[in-house]
């Protein structure tokens, strides 16, 4: 073996740039102070489903309105999670576990309240026809749900016509498509063309494996997402600024 000083040939930027604060310390600074809400937000951050439900039970028992706890406690906890993820303090598995815990909390509230909460908007997600690689889509769907969106998950290997039918039925603010392979991503063009034929002009966010910005830019509704975490940001952008594809591309196309 050759022994050299590694600092002469490489830089571990992740070590060099690491934040001083631990994730727990950073989260602690962001939790709400309300003593009934704090444990719920903390349990969301920690991904502890049972603790989330326990916290919700206590809060409801103390007179809090179940439905309002979604925005005031669950989403606040998830907001801590997504903010720290965006800042590079925590990693994706933490977000996934928190999202699981939040969904468990929402289910509990639905049962308690006997009605469904309002959501920020609806997004249809699918994996391209012919493609069964769905881990990217699962991440996208989890991140969208974690950010308060209602996700219609069509699954993997979804026929083009089924995608179109779902858009017609659900009237989503955005459609997402993921693909791993160059040969399957061609289905995105078909989806685009059929949507246009029927007069739908919703943003079609595409990403995954072999998908690249050049390819997605070739069809009118396409917006390329390099990271799964771009999906909720795109949905937020659409809610705030409308669904203009050019503006979305200006914001999210990085290359």
């Amino acid at each position: 073996m050759i022994q050299i000083d590694p600092s002469k040939i490489l830089v571990r930027y992740n070590v060099k740039m690491e934040k001083q604060m631990t994730p727990e310390e950073a989260a602690e600074e962001l939790y709400p102070k309300d003593k009934l809400v704090y444990p719920i937000a903390k349990a969301i951050f920690e991904g502890e489903e049972d603790d989330v439900v326990e916290g919700l039970e206590k809060a409801i028992g103390s007179g809090k309105d179940p439905i309002s706890l979604i925005d005031d406690a669950l989403m606040v906890g998830m907001g801590v999670v997504t903010r720290l993820y965006d800042e590079g303090v925590i990693f994706l598995p933490n977000v996934m576990m928190s999202a699981d815990a939040m969904l468990e909390g929402i289910e509990f509230i639905k049962k308690k309240a006997g009605k469904a909460p309002t959501v920020k908007g609806k997004v249809v997600c699918h994996v391209a026809e012919g493609d069964v690689h769905d881990i990217g889509k699962n991440i996208v769907a989890a991140l969208l749900r974690a950010n308060g969106y209602d996700v219609v998950d069509l699954g993997r290997d979804v026929p083009v016509d089924e995608v179109i039918a779902s858009v017609e039925k659900e009237n989503p603010l955005m459609l997402t498509g993921t693909a791993l392979m160059t040969t399957t991503m061609y289905a995105f063009k078909e989806v685009n063309d059929k949507l246009l034929e029927k007069g739908y002009r919703i943003p079609f966010a595409c990403g995954g494996g072999a998908v690249n910005q050049d390819f997605v830019s070739q069809y009118e509704l396409g917006v390329y997402g390099e990271e799964a975490a771009d999906a909720p940001k795109m949905a937020d952008f659409i809610k705030e600024h409308g669904d203009n594809i050019v503006k979305l591309r200006e914001k999210f196309h990085k290359h």
């Binding site: 073996m1 050759i2 022994q3 050299i4 000083d5 590694p6 040939i9 490489l10 571990r12 930027y13 992740n14 070590v15 740039m17 690491e18 631990t22 994730p23 993820y85 590079g88 925590i90 990693f91 994706l92 598995p93 933490n94 996934m96 576990m97 699981d100 012919g130 069964v132 769905d134 881990i135 699962n138 991440i139 989890a142 699954g155 993997r156 290997d157 979804v158 392979m181 160059t182 040969t183 399957t184 991503m185 061609y186 072999a210």
Partner: protein
């Protein structure tokens, strides 16, 4: 099924392992011997998306690809080349498509071999089509089509048979996104190994019947998923310390192919292959700096350390300034191989190998563990309990953790996040039972409940 488990190492010591030489070289194709003292480029490619529209279009595309590569190899004086065709789904779902492509490619390669004497072989990597829209369908109707695809390609010109099989992936995908180490171990080490045993026994039988080579598998579906999610130094999707644990566990899983009759060369994207070579002595393909056309990794030089074939992973076929992509990348691979072959001819192979390693060993925990002296140690941990697919996978994980911990005390800098993830993983593995049956039973209950797409019958459970 009769499999011969590895319970000892093929190499007496790690330092005996070099590129271009394997304990058990493999003869294949037209005059080629892999692992017999020289390295060879293995060029991999993907057809343009529109080429999949019909069988004729696809065959034509592969004819262009094959001719381009063979012509460039001759133009620059490369003595040998392997072509790897990774099936697009149409070629495996319709075995006659795959067979037609294999036949067309081999015809061109034979012409070049006859005219110039260039040594060459054709690998076909069948797509793991054993699934339907909702579930893996590892043992259903699709299994016979899957095997038929191997056989038809073998009969039509493919010399080396491979696959990137997906057993265990449904549990793994769920577990890796939740830092669930037991699930990673169950998915790759147990379910993956069980499926590997079934398919490779059958693939090896097809290779025997057709006079071709059962070459090997890669844990692309799982360990590479972890590596891709982990990404670069600044990505925040998975701790790299967890990605390398998944990789270590993938070694005993990929080893199963050789226990069931495969002989190598293992497939390029199996970054676990150095560990496999240490145990099984088979030749291996690797990819690194030459696969940046397909993905990034953090060990572009290191991974050349013990390769026998050197690959570019995959590149879409289209034009570049210097020719088509396959011409450009095959040329790059060929010059890398020329350098390694110079080292072999001049007795400098260990120097070059160690320079490759020194380039990347401290870049990331993944390269650190896969550096051949450490990879060898993971191998030793595997063969210690070689007859128990659960224990040997657990051993691999624990040895991997130990190696990273040692590295962190030396020159391998870990972020606090990576160190914490490592410590949590260590606690999770140490808490696991040593009893395979109990582990299996606990996991079966847990993942049947938690993973909607997990069907135990896929594994005969």
């Amino acid at each position: 099924m009769a499999v011969a488990r590895f319970t000892k190492m093929a190499y007496a010591k790690a330092d005996d392992m070099v590129f271009g030489k394997a304990v058990k070289p493999v003869k294949a194709g037209l005059g080629l011997e892999i692992g017999a003292g020289y390295t060879t480029p293995e060029v991999n490619y993907a057809p343009r998306p529109e080429a999949g529209a019909s069988k004729e279009k696809l065959v034509k595309e592969y004819e262009r690809i094959t001719t381009d590569i063979m012509a460039r190899m001759v133009q620059i004086g490369a003595p040998s080349v392997v072509l790897e065709t990774e099936h697009v789904q149409q070629m495996s779902n319709h075995p006659d498509w795959g067979a037609a492509v294999a036949h067309a490619q081999k015809t061109i390669m034979e012409d070049y071999h006859d005219e110039y004497g260039i040594k060459c072989a054709l690998r076909h990597t069948i797509g793991d089509i054993r699934e339907n829209r909702d579930f893996l369908q590892l043992r259903g109707d699709k299994y016979s089509v899957f095997l038929e695809a191997f056989e038809e390609c073998a009969k039509s010109g493919a010399d080396l048979l491979s696959v990137e099989s997906m057993g265990g992936k449904e549990v793994f995908d769920y577990a890796i996104l939740r830092n669930d180490m037991a699930g990673v171990l169950y998915g790759i080490g147990v379910l993956g190994s069980m499926d590997m045993e079934m398919i490779w026994s059958d693939i090896a039988a097809i290779a025997k019947k057709t006079g071709t080579v059962a070459a090997g598998d890669t844990d692309c579906a799982q360990a590479n998923t972890a590596m891709f999610i982990a990404g670069g130094l600044l990505d925040k999707n998975l701790a790299h310390t967890l990605a390398i644990i998944a990789r270590a566990i993938s070694a005993p899983r990929s080893l199963v192919a050789y226990e069931a009759g495969a002989v190598g060369p293992g497939k390029d994207c199996g970054y676990e292959n150095t560990i496999v070579k240490a145990i099984a002595g088979v030749p291996i393909t690797q990819e690194g700096k030459t696969s940046t056309c397909a993905h990034s990794d953090l060990m572009g030089n290191l991974v050349m350390q013990c390769c026998d074939l050197w690959s570019n992973e995959s590149v879409e076929y289209h034009g570049e300034f210097g020719g088509t992509t396959v011409q450009c990348w095959s040329e790059t691979l060929a010059y890398d191989c020329a350098l390694m072959n110079v080292a072999l001819e001049s007795g400098n192979e260990k120097v070059l190998r160690d320079m490759f390693v020194a380039s990347d060993i401290n870049r990331d925990p993944q390269g650190y563990v896969l550096a051949y002296p450490n990879a060898y140690r993971v191998g030793q941990a595997i063969v210690k309990d070689g007859n128990d697919i659960y224990l040997r996978a657990k051993n691999a994980a624990l040895e991997c953790i130990k190696i990273v911990e040692e590295g962190a005390k030396d020159k391998l800098a870990l972020s606090r996040f990576e160190a914490t993830a490592l410590a949590n993983a260590k606690a999770a593995f140490e808490a696991l039972t040593d009893d395979k049956e109990k582990f299996m039973s606990d996991c079966l209950d847990k993942y049947k409940k938690e993973v909607k797409v997990f069907l135990p019958e896929n594994y005969g459970l």
